[in-house]
């Protein structure tokens, strides 16, 4: 599984970094981040690209999600 670390990154880096990994053809991606905004944006991107989103950790200031296609 590919891992993307978007902790502490401001808009739109979390989306860009995740999309880069998606574009490389990854089917399973683990994304870890901090802000709620990046969580919302990465979730939105994942759904728009046909990934299933599974929240592994979902706290206000840190989260982890698994994306599967």
């Amino acid at each position: 599984m590919e891992k993307v670390d978007v902790r502490g990154l401001s808009c739109p880096m979390p989306v860009l970094k995740t999309k880069k990994v998606m574009d490389s053809g990854a089917k399973e991606i683990l994304v870890v981040g901090t802000s709620q905004v990046s969580k919302e944006n990465v979730t939105k991107l994942a759904r728009s690209q046909g990934y299933e989103v599974i929240m592994k950790v979902d706290n206000k200031d840190n989260w982890e999600m698994e994306l599967r296609k």
Partner: protein
């Protein structure tokens, strides 16, 4: 359209409508809200520049930050954070203000000016879109100002809101420290700085906008950026909402006057309207948010965004003291040079902060 999209569209409509009402109640024409102009007025109110016509402690700015602060606390999102090239962001804030004052408005006022029939604002808008597109070019090449880190104490995130509360106190109390020179708050007796809606209404309007913009993550540059980058129209809907909301009320109030000439607090030098907002769009995209978004983020505890806000206030002082700021007569030679220098600096930063 899903619920979040309706919500941000409604947010835009409300903000556009509030802006038109604030003009009706006394704010300068096509300036119900202008983050850059109002921060510039604040710079004047605390004596950072001596342009006598643009000095007022704008309660809207204070309200926006306090609204975002309260909302983020209730949402559990308030968290002090910073350390992503903070000083560079401060300098970028200075240049973002210089660009805005060459155009005479931030991206939010650009929308409001378009909704008032100001065609110069359309020229500025095209410049803004080009600036955002240039920023996206750098983002795609790997531009990154670095990671911010959560602070072990939330105190740092409260510093800017507390400073603004002090300003609000000074505004309400009206104490003058130096009877000869006036101040600490200086107030325009004529010009845009002398035009303002009643304090309580302005403050409340700011708080409402702070709440709505915090919840929806409304951002002018983000709207165009996301559309170019990932064809996402969410933030763009907020932008469109503001335009429609202000347009309807501007027509109803009789404020809508289409044309290039004789627009309020605007000039007709198209090249500089274009390049001024080009600089703002480029800088905002590299910073991750427009001047409004920087205010909201600083209310949420983002100390890097607070550095941008203070950079913009300092930038306003510089812009007026050094004759960079435009006037309705146009942009002077120094403002033209400063704007081009700003664009070159952003190109340099855009290439330099490239991450492999």
């Amino acid at each position: 359209m899903d619920r979040s999209k309706w919500f941000i569209l409604a947010t835009g409509l409300i903000i556009g409508a509030i802006a038109a009402v604030l003009v009706k109640l006394g704010n300068p024409p096509n300036m119900g809200f202008c983050i850059a102009c109002f921060e510039r007025d604040i710079a004047g109110a605390i004596g950072l520049h001596r342009a006598a016509v643009v000095q007022y402690m704008r309660p809207e700015i204070i309200g926006i930050v306090l609204g975002a602060l309260l909302t983020s606390i209730f949402a559990g999102e308030f968290k002090a954070r910073g350390g992503s090239a903070t000083f560079v962001r401060f300098i970028m804030g200075i240049f973002m203000m210089i660009g805005a004052l060459v155009f005479l408005g931030c991206p939010l006022r650009d929308v409001l000016r378009m909704a008032g029939g100001d065609y110069n604002a359309v020229v500025g808008f095209i410049g803004f879109v080009c600036g955002v597109a240039t920023g996206v070019f750098f983002l795609k090449r790997g531009f990154n100002l670095g990671r911010a880190e959560y602070s072990h104490s939330n105190a740092g995130g409260l510093v800017l809101p507390l400073i603004l509360l002090l300003f609000l106190f000074l505004l309400i109390k009206g104490t003058v420290f130096s009877p000869d020179a006036g101040g600490p708050l200086f107030f325009s007796t004529e010009g845009p700085g002398s035009k303002f809606a009643p304090l309580g209404i302005s403050l409340l309007a700011g708080i409402v906008v702070g709440f709505l913009a915090q919840r929806t993550r409304l951002c002018m540059s983000g709207g165009i950026r996301d559309f170019i980058l990932i064809r996402d129209s969410y933030l763009l809907l907020g932008f469109i909402g503001i335009f429609i909301g202000a347009l309807i009320l501007n027509i109803a109030f009789g404020f809508f006057k289409p044309g290039f000439a004789d627009q309020p607090i605007a000039h007709t030098m198209s090249v500089w309207n274009f390049l001024g907002l080009y600089l703002v769009g480029l800088t905002a995209t590299l910073l991750g948010g427009c001047p409004l978004r920087q205010l909201i983020l600083s209310g949420e505890g983002d100390m890097d965004a607070a550095a941008v806000v203070i950079g913009m206030i300092v930038g306003a002082g510089i812009a007026h003291n050094f004759m960079f700021a435009a006037s309705p007569q146009g942009v002077g030679i120094y403002g033209q040079i400063a704007c081009v220098v700003g664009i070159l600096v952003m190109f340099w930063l855009g290439f330099s902060f490239r991450e492999e």
